[in-house]
């Protein structure tokens, strides 16, 4: 209860770390300083061992001892019924409160040296990208660490059932499922993969890379490259432009072929099965990849349609995941590399069973967004016109006739791009989900369940403010990109913010009810089965995010 401040509680009853922290912390700091110390030793010791050694030891020892002493003196921790309190820091003093209901994982770790001295490290992690433990108590006595761990987990369990921790739905299935019987959600044929490679935007990137390789053509024996060019120029009677364009087209063709080949090799035999709360993928020709992702971890689905694919009625699906076990990063990964647009709804429902994405009605962003985009594209356009002109002056070439058609082709682009970009932006609120869409060359549609919403932001730059626009940013636990709806009317953005906050809360409550019901069911089953039937002492130790 927020009665006495945590600081007072830490002062009164806060525990210190084990005295051996002085040693281990010092070692840790010294290890960090090793290379600078050695370098300094060499520098100032003039290569003589008996002069270098004291310098190195001095450089290592002093900060190590001071740091370790400070840490031991200042670090305090305390475990309450509902919270873990920590205080640390010398220059930057930090007081941390971790509600036990949020703890996901508690680990006791021992290095070899720690084992010898009978001490250990206790690491406490909450949900999140899992890159760093939220609390690291280094070092405690082994017994103390283990009993603290048991204590923490016991109190957390009490908190979790009493106060209904917000865990998402879907505990792992109790009975094993017959894997062979489940039909795959998606299976890609060779033709599909060919299409995937042929329509990927990466062809352009590969062409650019190939162009970069051109500079190495000087290494080719016998001036092969130059002779080829000279032949070509002679044959076309000196039309450099034609040769240039032909060359570029050739490069793009090569890039395209590489893209197709790459896709065929990488995703050969792609099969995706959703089964038992888990998604399993299998693909690859040379290296066979088998990956499985618990459906829990999926924070959002992203549908990507490149320009070409949109025209052919194809799409690519990615999932954004949260980090799971400690040290595992979340991020984007392929869900289905290529699929027919009309299958997208069914595929999305494979992961988010109640998502009605096909029926979603997208709302436009504010019309003034088009004005902003036009301004931006005009500036880019001016740069594109001015740059070659300036380059021509620099190289003393007369662009002459080329310039007029060049400008004429580019001229309508700012208006067209602004219109297309504006039309591509939209948002939708199907029941239980929020969707955001944008992009011309690559149209990206985000599908995020309400229960996965983390923080919500409304941001406006001064330029947006002048036009009465704002951007809504939706954050999930996925490590990586954020979904944003850019240039909404400010009032719409605020109302959307409120709506999403309400929905997120409703989703949290709903999943809590599910947890409580399930906990009650588990308890009832245990009571029925009799004592000793369930041997697992910590059934809920590893809660999914």
């Amino acid at each position: 209860m927020p009665s006495d401040a945590a600081a007072a509680r830490l002062d009164a009853d806060g525990r210190r770390l084990h005295p051996l922290t002085l040693v281990f912390s010092a070692l840790g700091i010294a290890r960090g300083m090793l290379w600078p110390a050695v370098a300094g030793g060499f520098g100032f010791g003039d290569g003589e061992l008996d002069r270098m050694l004291p310098i190195i030891l001095g450089v290592l020892a002093i900060p190590a001892l001071i740091g370790a002493a400070a840490k031991y003196a200042l670090y305090r921790w305390r475990l309450d019924a509902d919270e873990l309190l920590l205080r640390s820091g010398v220059l930057n003093r930090q007081n941390r409160v971790i509600p036990l209901a949020r703890v996901q994982n508690v680990e006791v770790r021992q290095s070899l040296l720690q084992r010898v001295f009978g001490v250990a490290e206790l690491r406490v992690e909450t949900a999140g990208t899992g890159l760093q433990a939220e609390a690291v108590l280094s070092v405690l006595g082994v017994g103390e660490a283990q009993s603290l761990r048991a204590d923490l987990l016991a109190r957390r369990r009490a908190q979790a059932t009493a106060a209904a921790v917000d865990v998402a739905d879907g505990a792992p299935a109790a009975e094993p499922v017959d894997h062979a019987a489940v039909p795959p959600l998606a299976k890609l044929s060779t033709w599909d993969l060919l299409l995937a490679g042929a329509t990927a935007n990466e062809a352009g990137v590969i062409a650019a890379a190939a162009a970069g390789l051109l500079q190495f053509t000087e290494e080719l024996p016998g001036d092969v490259f130059e002779r080829v060019i000279r032949d070509a120029v002679e044959r076309t009677e000196g039309a450099y432009a034609v040769v240039g364009i032909a060359g570029m087209l050739l490069l793009m063709l090569v890039g395209w072929m590489i893209s197709i080949l790459g896709s065929l090799v990488r995703y050969h035999g792609f099969t995706l099965v959703v089964d038992g709360g888990e998604m399993r993928k299998r693909f690859g020709l040379l290296t066979v990849h088998e990956a499985s992702v618990p459906l829990q971890r999926v924070q959002a689905i992203r549908v990507e349609e490149t320009f070409l694919r949109r025209w052919l009625g194809l799409a690519s699906l990615m999932i954004e995941t949260a980090g799971g076990s400690p040290g595992q990063r979340g991020g984007a990964e392929a869900f289905v590399p290529i699929a027919r647009r009309r299958d997208v709804g069914r595929l999305v429902r494979g992961i988010f069973a109640d998502a009605e994405v096909d029926a979603a009605q997208f709302q436009q962003v504010h019309p003034k967004a088009e004005r902003r985009l036009r301004r931006r594209y005009l500036i880019t356009f001016l740069l594109f016109v001015w740059a070659p002109f300036w380059a021509a002056r620099w190289f003393d070439i007369q662009p002459g006739g080329m310039l007029a058609p060049y400008v004429a082709v580019l001229l309508p682009l700012p208006w067209l791009m602004a219109r297309w970009q504006y039309a591509s932006r939209g948002w939708a609120l199907p029941p239980g989900y929020v969707m955001a869409r944008s992009g011309v060359l690559n149209r990206v549609t985000w599908i995020i369940p309400d229960r996965k919403l983390q923080t919500l932001h409304v941001v406006d730059s001064p330029f947006q403010r002048r036009l009465g626009l704002s951007t809504l940013v939706v954050d999930t636990a996925a490590g990586g990109k954020q979904a944003a709806v850019i240039d909404l009317a400010h009032s719409t953005a605020r109302r959307l913010l409120e709506e999403l906050a309400v929905r997120a809360r409703a989703a949290a409550i709903a999943s809590r009810v599910q947890v409580r019901t399930r906990a009650a069911e588990v308890e009832a089953a245990e009571v029925e089965a009799g004592p000793g039937a369930n041997d697992d002492p910590c059934p809920s130790d590893h809660l999914p995010a």
Partner: protein, 171 residues
């Protein structure tokens, strides 16, 4: 093209706003804190600019933009930042509004708070101020910070948020 009005999509009436939580401001000393750090940075950069002037006779005019920025960050920006920084602790969420150039509103549901820190740099400690940092499971927007609070207020806010996060409101 016929598109439904956004209002038809959002709930018929705007959801009843949570009973308006009081709008809190930072401690007024935050302005002094920011002025102090602003002045320190200004001094640092001015020194950096003086060295090339002394050694290699770079024109003094180069120091003008640094001086101008320094004045802005010491005199004007801290006051503007203070004016635009508010927060509200509601029944279901915490809202933090800040920014004088780019304005941001961040909403964190209590049920999404993972843990809460208070943090004090050396200057803050000397002035008796602290920053509250709210951590969520989110990735990019994972941390929401409220700086420039009186030490005691920061501690109370931290404990309150941790408590609200751990228990959250009854179903």
């Amino acid at each position: 093209m016929d598109r439904p009005e956004p209002d038809a999509v959002l709930t018929a009436e705007p959801p009843a706003p949570p009973a308006e939580a009081p709008v809190q401001r930072l401690d007024p000393r935050a302005v002094t804190l920011w002025r102090l750090t602003g002045a320190l940075w200004w001094a640092f950069w001015t020194l950096c600019m003086i060295i090339p002037w002394l050694l290699w006779e770079w024109p003094l005019a180069l120091m003008l933009p640094v001086a101008a920025l320094g004045v802005a960050w010491t005199v004007w920006v801290p006051a503007a930042s203070y004016r635009h920084f508010t927060y509200q602790v509601g029944d279901v969420d915490v809202r933090v509004m800040h920014g004088w150039w780019t304005r941001r509103v961040a909403v964190v549901l209590h049920s999404r708070i993972q843990h809460v820190d208070t943090r004090q740099g050396p200057v803050e400690r000397a002035m008796g101020l602290a920053t509250v940092v709210i951590y969520t499971a989110g990735s990019v927007g994972a941390m929401v910070g409220i700086p420039g609070l009186a030490e005691r207020d920061a501690e109370l806010l931290r404990d309150l948020l941790a408590h609200l996060s751990g228990t959250d409101d009854a179903v």
